[in-house]
Symmetry: C2
Subunit: 365 residues, 2 copies
């Protein structure tokens, strides 16, 4: 469905440009401005999104001509991929363009490690589609197990993947969890997102997802696009989402990116944020409830301190007194706690911790 | 089986030490020396391994007392994990030790990013066991799909995972693919290891593993321990192993680590090397066979050049004239090729390339 719509949007973009040329005008397209000044936290919806400012890209502008031409070339390739019903990565797209355009294509815009991939972002914003809808794959990273079945319609085949039958490991969360994919027969009552793979493995060995009837996901650090979309889709089905990370800069960043999105990706808006998500821990306050943790804190690094200070200044964080109090504890003590520390006394405590937190609603917003 | 043996070895280590103490001697244990001077490429077997030099760790030695005590503590915890039949990560082990020993445990030896984890390595070498046998999990990274079934006996459950029923994604390769796990009903004829996730996804969409009847693995960069063990086990079943990477420093390193092991991990020996592996490409010579690649090379980075020079100096590489010739092509042209470039002309060419390479035996040793 999204694919058909995307194809129409791409065709529409091209037609508009041809009409502009026919009228003797410079071909032009408009997209929301993605720079910092146009990013706002929308309190009414609970995520970072772009404001109303637009920017116009036009061919007959010396500073924009080259990028404009490249954007049109990207749109053209995406249309081709959709028509062929084939997918590739942004890097694959780069080589397709390089093959057609030779040296005229700017490699730096397609760097693998870059969060920008500016030309693709332009199209995503201008057409209101996700790059996955343009048949561009992204790197997979997260893993899932739990009581649900994935109905996958892919490459002309129908497959049912039972996420409760993954043994000691899990199903790798794909790049695109939307087009041709359905989550059915969800018996699980909530989604548990666990920052670290090691903790996922610990909980999986305890069959935590089975005993507590949840869907166990690890993003393995920062969540991939596929993982964020999966969580979003499960939240749309009414499942509460609990996130469990380290009490440190990286852990907080992972949580807040899942919840409200990040500045970089504000243009993705609601599709990639889960404002309903709750933060289960680890928190500095846990030390009071679980005294054995006291000797398992470690020294906060400079980045943790700096991050805590920054976070207190963000309106979408300091609107929650619980978070301000928590971050101040880190600043005051200069200490942090890793989720791994919960295993210090006994390995199986991790599950007990999560159970107790959820039961007593001991989470941060 | 390995677990029972490991438990006996751990008990044996402890008993020997107690006997030493009873005799009024300093408790001692011996392990192969892991430093560079004791690493050799064994041509007869085709992998890097430790030589005959041993080192003795003894308690009554001022410079060794602390590490010795920590090693014994690690052995003790591993014995406990085996007895409890529970697993944790090295980081979890660190917190268990910190809980028992307080400040006496050296965090730096348990750094997540460190390749060393010296104390665990000591035990692996001294007892000739893998850390997985000590119930220590490692991070998962690779993904698998293909015509084989995994019989998994884990956490008191029996599961069968059909790697041909993974839809658009795959089964995440677990940390430990040995204890309690069997690969059965392998209809696939060979193993294809693809460096990048993007290329795995490309081939998976083409159902390459189905049409060509292979097992499709991506390590997603450098191979995790679990991925290396999986490839080793499949090679032990007689399946040829073909590796497909970028033609650059990182790609070559990935291949040679899979094939012969690396200096860092030479102590792991045959368990983690696949000397039978062949290198399918990408190679600079491919340009002659596939002229469209000519305009898709990119400038080699300094690290690629440096690495190519280093590799030519390694006896286990320069014993192969094909490799010397290939590396010289990179040095001479100052160019490299990524595997993604194969998609430049058309996306589905990747599979055709692999098919042709295997059919014509166009691989490097």
């Amino acid at each position: 469905m999204a694919e058909k719509e995307t194809l129409e949007k791409l065709t529409g973009l091209g037609k508009t440009m041809v009409e502009q040329v026919d009228k003797g005008k410079s071909p032009t397209f408009e997209a929301s401005l993605r720079s910092k000044g146009n990013i706002e936290f929308d309190k009414s919806v609970g995520f970072l999104r772009l404001g109303d400012k637009k920017e116009e890209r036009t061919f007959l502008n010396v500073s924009q001509a080259r990028t404009f031409m490249q954007t049109v070339a990207v749109a053209n390739k995406a249309k081709k991929f959709l028509a062929e019903d084939l997918h590739t990565s942004i890097r694959g797209l780069y080589y397709q363009l390089k093959f057609s355009l030779g040296e005229d294509i700017d490699e730096s815009l397609f760097e693998e490690q870059s969060e920008s991939n500016a030309l693709v972002e332009d199209l995503e914003v201008a057409l209101s589609v996700k790059r996955e809808d343009l048949h561009l794959t992204t790197d997979r990273k997260g893993v899932v197990a739990g009581n649900m079945i994935v109905k996958d319609n892919f490459a002309g085949e129908q497959t049912e993947i039972d996420c409760a039958q993954q043994g000691r490991s899990g199903w790798m969360i794909p790049s695109d969890v939307d087009n041709g994919m359905e989550f059915v027969d969800i018996k699980a009552k909530y989604v548990l997102v666990v920052e670290k793979d090691a903790l996922w493995q610990r909980l999986n060995e305890d069959r935590f997802w089975k005993k507590d009837n949840c869907i166990l996901i690890t993003p393995k650090g920062q969540a991939s696009r596929g993982t964020r979309r999966l969580i979003r889709r499960l939240a749309d089905k009414g499942l509460p989402v609990y996130v469990f990370t380290d009490c440190d800069a990286w852990g907080w960043y992972i949580y807040w990116t899942i919840k409200t999105g990040s500045m970089n990706l504000a243009y993705l808006g609601r599709d990639f944020s889960i404002p309903e998500a709750k933060f289960l821990g680890v928190t500095m306050s846990d030390i009071e409830k679980f005294p054995f943790l006291k000797k398992l804190t470690i020294k906060a690094k400079e980045i943790d301190i700096k991050r805590a200070e920054e976070m207190i200044s963000y309106p979408w964080i300091n609107m929650h007194p619980e978070w301000v109090s928590e971050l101040n504890k880190v600043l005051k003590t200069g200490q942090k706690i890793e989720q791994d520390a919960l295993q210090g006394e006994r390995l199986t405590f991790v599950g007990e911790y999560i159970r107790q937190k959820i039961k007593n609603k001991e989470w941060l917003p």
